[in-house]
């Protein structure tokens, strides 16, 4: 693949509304290669809607999105994007799938030849190893803990060697220790060259982890250094009330 010399994600003047209720207005930003961006905001600030627009799951009312320099409507290189949705199982733990099968489904380019293969192939094992869960490959997905399941879906996202990893509230429902290990793992991935876009309501974790924050409250409040999250005016613009971040130990 040729060296990318344009933004990985380019958003220009995006707007979205449900009827007359404007959910997003005039959102413009670029994500460059190697960046680690955290989208933060209160409930109803438009975080998930923005993410869905970026991934082509929701069509904006106005504005445009480019992925890897290509307008979203013409973009076909989906293997360059690894997506980890929030609560993918929606509580159905009886879904009959092993960890290997879920991870393998992220490797669409191989076509349908794998129908008759019951074990995990090398590509899948490598992705599982990278996510530190190769020992779980035969387990059924419904048997895993929340943290393990998140890693399975990250392994699934990694199996196609993506340049951009997109995660929607990845730490929802997992305990603090697992959460810390999870963020360390994301750090490792970022250091290996993957651009990361993360949506979270957890301000402290975002302030600690990312290189760039995108603060949202239906409009773009700020886009820049995580130090912005120390600014009371920005926090007030995001949440409407005073809010403090207790521990901010930035890693970058």
């Amino acid at each position: 693949m040729s060296e990318i010399n344009h933004s990985i994600v380019s958003v220009e003047n995006i707007g979205f509304s449900y009827g007359t209720d404007a959910v997003l207005k005039n959102i413009t930003f670029d994500i460059e290669k190697g960046d680690y961006v955290g989208i933060v905001g209160s409930n109803g600030s438009g975080k998930t809607t923005l993410l869905k627009i970026l991934l082509g799951l929701t069509v904006p009312v106005e504005g445009s999105v480019k992925l890897f320099g290509t307008p979203l409507e013409e973009f076909r290189e989906w293997n360059q994007i690894g997506y980890v949705p929030q609560n993918v199982f929606r509580g159905d733990l009886n879904f009959p799938a092993t960890v290997s099968e879920v991870v393998e489904s992220g490797h669409l380019q191989a076509g349908g030849k794998d129908l008759f293969r019951f074990g995990a192939c090398d590509v899948v094992m490598n992705a599982l190893k990278r996510a530190g869960i190769e020992h779980l490959h035969k387990k059924r997905i419904g048997e895993l803990s929340g943290g393990e399941r998140q890693r399975v879906f990250i392994a699934r996202a990694l199996v196609s060697n993506p340049l951009l990893l997109v995660l929607d509230e990845p730490t929802t429902g997992i305990d603090t220790t697992t959460e810390e290990m999870f963020y360390d793992f994301l750090d490792e991935l970022h250091r290996s060259g993957i651009t990361i876009l993360l949506v979270s309501h957890d301000l402290e974790a975002i302030a600690r982890q990312v290189k760039t924050v995108l603060c949202l409250n239906r409009r773009l409040v700020c886009y820049g250094s995580p130090a912005n999250l120390q600014n009371p005016e920005i926090l007030k613009a995001m949440y409407g009330t005073e809010k403090n971040i207790l521990h901010h130990e930035h890693k970058h």
């Binding site: 293997n79 997506y83 993918v88 879904f95 489904s105 669409l108 349908g112 794998d114 059924r140 997109v166």
Partner: protein, 278 residues
């Protein structure tokens, strides 16, 4: 009469071939319906097919053509309503199921001569299978298996999570439309053999029995086909040995398999081998 001696009759060979093909295709399509929580779709499409049969008899057009057209139209309509999101998924199925049955009943009451013909489609009969039916089923089986072979991964992700499928580059609308068409075709082709009231069971019950083993997707799919083949085989034998309705016999055997696997799972796997709580 021994079981093997039954095969000296052409109509029995035909019905056995048809039953075996159906035993492979029905759970393959049914598996994706079950995991998408769309199990009743087959029942709904079967009732719509009955409307197609009624219309075909009323207007004197080929029955397969009429039943397939109505079930395809219904499949497209149901998918459209589901995507629009204004009506709940299960309610859409109920809407199509009851409205098509209502129209069928009205047509039956308008033309009393249809009653006997139409009622034969409610329960089906393997003994009425023609050579053409076997050919149609064979073609359907090939189409269904090739569809599965080429789009297995896409169907798998689509069943797991639709958004995930879209972001993986799957053309979800096209895939969904093709799958619904395949479901409609399967239901229509098996209508005469298993009947409107039982086709849904043949597509769903072997899958439920296989799911009790708590295995992966491919293993569950293989076990579904295995239980389905066994159900058709044993049901076919019982049907001719005791002169009972083939559709009913097949589905009862499938339900028995489910009960056995469910009980085994509940009492042996969950109970006998579970570590005691300290």
């Amino acid at each position: 009469m021994s079981f093997l001696s039954l095969f000296q009759f052409d109509f029995i060979v035909r019905s056995f071939e048809a039953g075996m093909i159906l035993a492979v295709v029905a759970p393959v399509v049914g598996m994706f319906l079950v995991v998408r929580r769309y199990s009743l779709l087959a029942d709904s499409l079967a009732h719509v097919s009955l409307l197609g049969v009624a219309l075909s008899l009323f207007f004197n057009i080929p029955i397969f053509f009429g039943a397939l057209t109505t079930s395809l139209l219904a499949a497209v309509g149901m998918e459209k309503l589901r995507r629009d999101g204004y009506v709940l998924g299960e309610a859409i199925i109920a809407l199509f199921l009851s409205s098509s049955l209502a129209i069928s009943i009205v047509i039956m009451s308008l033309s009393h001569r249809l009653n006997a013909n139409l009622l034969s489609y409610l329960f089906g009969s393997l003994s009425t299978v023609s050579s053409l039916d076997v050919i149609v089923l064979f073609v359907l089986g090939i189409v269904a298996l090739f569809f599965l072979l080429f789009f297995y991964r896409e169907l798998f992700i689509f069943s797991l999570d639709e958004d995930l499928a879209k972001v993986s580059g799957v053309r979800v609308r096209l895939l969904s439309a093709c799958f619904m068409a395949l479901a409609a075709l399967t239901v229509t082709a098996s209508l005469q053999m298993v009947g409107v009231l039982l086709i849904g069971a043949l597509m769903v019950v072997p899958v439920l029995a296989a799911m009790q083993f708590h295995r992966g997707f491919k293993t569950t799919l293989s076990l579904s086909v295995f239980f389905s083949l066994l159900s058709v085989f044993i049901g076919f034998f019982l049907s001719y040995s005791f002169d009972i309705a083939s559709g009913g016999a097949i589905v009862i055997v499938a339900v028995l398999f489910f009960l056995v696997t469910y009980s085994f799972n509940r009492f042996f796997v969950n109970f006998a081998f579970r570590k005691p709580l300290n």
